[in-house]
Symmetry: C2
Subunit: 397 residues, 2 copies
């Protein structure tokens, strides 16, 4: 079992900061700077083009995919890393749709991350006017799973509220009517135990810059269930997903299994940072992490609710229905979050009124929760958010 | 004018190596390691999520795009960086096709990089059975530009032979019949002067890890001509191409102009390396670079042809029809290239029989050409390639 008081020392966090935003961008692991420097100086600098073989760059997307696979219940050889999450959503959804050519409806919910819905919109618009993206409220998803549905495309953990779907139940229901599933694990991988095989998920995608701590703009990953791996047709049929990329054939032949979900040249420097981040994850027991995360978030909710009647819990109260974040609603949430950040408690704000706080046991302990609650109480009880400097909006929030 | 004897000192090349493979992966600029380290340690490490604003990460794709734009004749505000070249090809081709909804044929040539053809295949396969990818020989392209053609999609400089298309003439011909053009500048950007505005190109894409020296897996770029910028519909409609990404609206609204060609979260660490690489390019006069490149490649051809009758020039003899690489055909080209690499002359091999050598005046001078010719002559005249260790093929070549 992981000792979560020891893992904190593996991260380079600024002194005095309570960083509750690892659900948006994970902090820098201490080993990453050296690892990246070696990739740049010793590998790229010294091996040049030879790095693709000698430093194993070309093998990284699959090797790193396997390491992520362990965290999400995927068998080795069924996850590959690359591109961005939006691209991977597009790729998974297109492959799923091609496996259900007689159906035209993609079902999603309004709690999905907007980019997933946008990518679906772009894809369906290109496929033709008979395709439809049907977006319902999260609580209405089950009622809308009918035999019209080609693909059920959901983000497991809601990016605003932390509300978690029941992946196994919804997937089973989708399969009953002959639909396939695409699960976005952006707020699940490294946050909660995921069992893709156990849940019979068909496709899954996720990112590595949040809970996995691989750095800003770190690449995404994609999973295709073993039974679909040789059937899924890649719409983004790039050369590195070809059966023989370096034969430079004129026509596309899909590579074996998950390899076909590779597309262009992998981002070697970002992959190096991902490798360093996964060194920590390789040691983590996800059940222990989940237990620690629930302890932290339960204490946080109790503390905030006791001290701040103006904040309304936006997350499910039952921890079993929550990911690893806690959100509160407050009309002046943007300003309140700025006031908190100015006092060293970093969460973030999501329109229109959500204050988000991520709980990441690898580097957040109970003393951080205590301190965060004290500062939130001070900001709320003394209306410290009610200052013009906190109300001016930055470009990126 | 750039002093190309001085620019060499800006690169960190292994002692004694003649690196003629900058057309595949550019070498490490000396300033890059520190730049990347600062992005990792001071920006990500200290600013955490705040880096998106404070370190200007979010603005980098457009800012770096403008700097690339200067090298390819694009006005400011019309180039953006992100994803991989394969993804950008897909994006440009899809946008061009949507602007010619009554036509179904994409014309390309067998000199195009295979991934461009593969991506077109994936896209057209999804759009429907009435779409056709028509691939002809490079010399036959002009004769096939008819009013059936929706989009002419070409790589300006052939990755194997270095043969260069006449972008302005082919674009003009395409426009005469109402077709649009997508130009891949993978072997043009930083290799030869490119004038996208002067050539009236409609769309262009390219990569930054070859001549631009941004590192393994560095991101790609895309250009949309000003007159199309507000009309082009992004099929890869990701959140960062949305008009208001942080409003988290449920439906997609395309951002202004080139901004809509952004998709997912940008690879911040790779962008940092690209920034360091472009610091060098910001000072380069492309006409002077072109003149220097021709001097080098002419001397190389003369030297090799005089000493190695077994090597047949695969590149156009007229330097005006050549990019910044020279290729020779040789049946045992793979083994010969391994023998050269073992002796410190690094070019590369492209199936079935092409030995490629890139000429990059930023860090390659006439003394490198002389030395390369001597070593090639030794390998060829003494049949040094005829050894088992040079014939065993590596996974990536």
């Amino acid at each position: 079992m992981t000792d979560f008081t020891a893992t904190r020392a593996l991260f380079d966090l600024p002194e005095g900061l309570v960083y509750l935003d690892g659900n948006s961008l994970g902090p820098l692991p201490r080993a990453t700077a050296d690892r990246v420097a070696r990739t740049v100086t010793e590998e790229w600098g010294q091996m040049l083009i030879g790095g693709w073989n000698k430093a194993g760059w070309m093998a990284q997307p699959a090797a790193l995919g396997d390491r992520i696979g362990r965290l999400i219940g995927a068998p080795a050889g069924h996850v590959v890393v690359g591109d961005t999450l939006s691209i991977k959503v597009f790729q998974a959804l297109a492959a799923a749709l091609q496996m259900r050519p007689d159906r035209k409806v993609v079902l999603s919910d309004s709690g999905n991350f907007p980019s997933d819905l946008y990518m679906a919109e772009g894809l369906l618009g290109a496929l033709g006017p008979d395709y439809e993206l049907r977006v319902v409220a999260p609580e209405d998803v089950a009622a809308h799973i009918t035999d019209e549905i080609a693909v059920l495309m959901l983000t497991e953990v809601d990016y605003r509220t932390g509300r978690m779907h029941d992946m196994a139940a919804l997937t089973a229901q989708a399969h009953t009517v002959g639909a396939l599933t695409v699960w976005d694990l952006a707020h699940s991988a490294g946050a909660v135990p995921v069992d893709l095989i156990g849940a019979h998920a068909d496709f899954a995608v996720g990112c590595t810059y949040k809970y996995l701590n691989a750095g800003p703009g770190a690449p995404a990953f994609i999973y295709v269930a073993p039974q679909h791996a040789e059937m899924a047709r890649p719409i983004l049929s790039g050369w590195l997903g070809h059966a023989a990329p370096f034969a430079f054939e004129q026509a596309y032949r899909a590579g074996e299994g998950i390899a076909r979900m590779r597309c262009g040249t992998p981002p070697v420097i970002q992959l190096s940072a991902l490798g360093a981040a996964l060194d920590i994850w390789d040691t983590v027991d996800m059940s222990a992490l989940r237990a620690a995360s629930i302890d932290l978030s339960e204490a946080f909710i109790a503390g905030v609710e006791a001290a701040c009647p103006d904040l309304t819990l936006a997350s499910p109260r039952d921890p079993a229905q929550r990911g690893s974040q806690v959100s509160f609603r407050f009309d002046e949430g943007y300003a309140a979050m700025q006031a908190l950040i100015a006092r060293g408690v970093v969460g973030d704000f999501r329109a229109p009124d959500i204050m988000r706080f991520g709980f990441t046991p690898l580097y957040i302990g109970m003393e951080d929760v205590t301190r965060a609650v004290e500062i939130i109480a001070d900001v709320m009880q003394n209306r410290l958010w009610d200052r013009p400097e906190y109300k001016a909006r930055a470009a990126v929030t």
